[in-house]
Symmetry: C2
Subunit: 92 residues, 2 copies
DNA sequence: CTTGCACGCAAGCGGTTACTTGCCTATTGT
DNA sequence: ACAATAGGCAAGTAACCGCTTGCGTGCAAG
């Protein structure tokens, strides 16, 4: 759970999360093209790849191998636990 | 909202959040003493002070001046918005 | 079997960040 | 008034992080 905050600290990684939130099961190149069009983030392929590895290590992104393609999807379960860490008293 | 992730990325800052979660309205020196006893983080006064400023800037900690004392408390409202960013579909 | 595509690995570089060090201000107590 | 306490400000340093660069691997198509 510690890695979640560090993973989401980088703006580029949050942009990737947003891109995956719009549509799941995206490959690396799909994400690269999307991040160059939607946002003005000049992220190269290797940069996105490294970010995806960080997000995957934090448990926020799950991957699925299919031939030479690797599809990425969100896993929002860890985020729910994040909020409950300091929100034990007030919830409304 | 961007600053929230960067603020919580540092483990020392999360430890401060935990200390404030145990008890609100703590001064700087109270937090320093608590962080030296509870955890094994050798945080100096200036380090904790800087971390508190970051947390305050992120809106996670609210302060209250009283004479020469400055009491710090948690504000967990921003954290609720954090989770809802990517949890629009599943909530249970 | 060769060519191209999707992706992985690893070293290196520049900017950021956490922490220290030193000094300063303001409020309280005697 | 003087000393002590609670906290603030700013510069300097070392480590970390994001990104690049270059090359390597495996799958797929002709």
């Amino acid at each position: 759970m510690t890695d979640i905050f560090e993973a989401l600290a980088a703006p580029a990684r949050r942009a990737i999360m947003d891109a995956l939130h719009q549509r799941d099961d995206q490959t690396l190149f799909e994400l690269v093209g999307r991040l160059m069009n939607d946002h003005d983030l000049p992220l190269t392929r290797q940069a996105v790849s490294q970010h995806l590895h960080v997000l995957e290590g934090a448990g926020l992104v799950i991957t699925r191998r299919e031939g030479r393609y690797k599809y990425h999807s969100l896993d929002t379960q860890p985020l729910s636990a994040v909020t409950r860490r300091w929100n034990t008293k007030e919830t409304s």
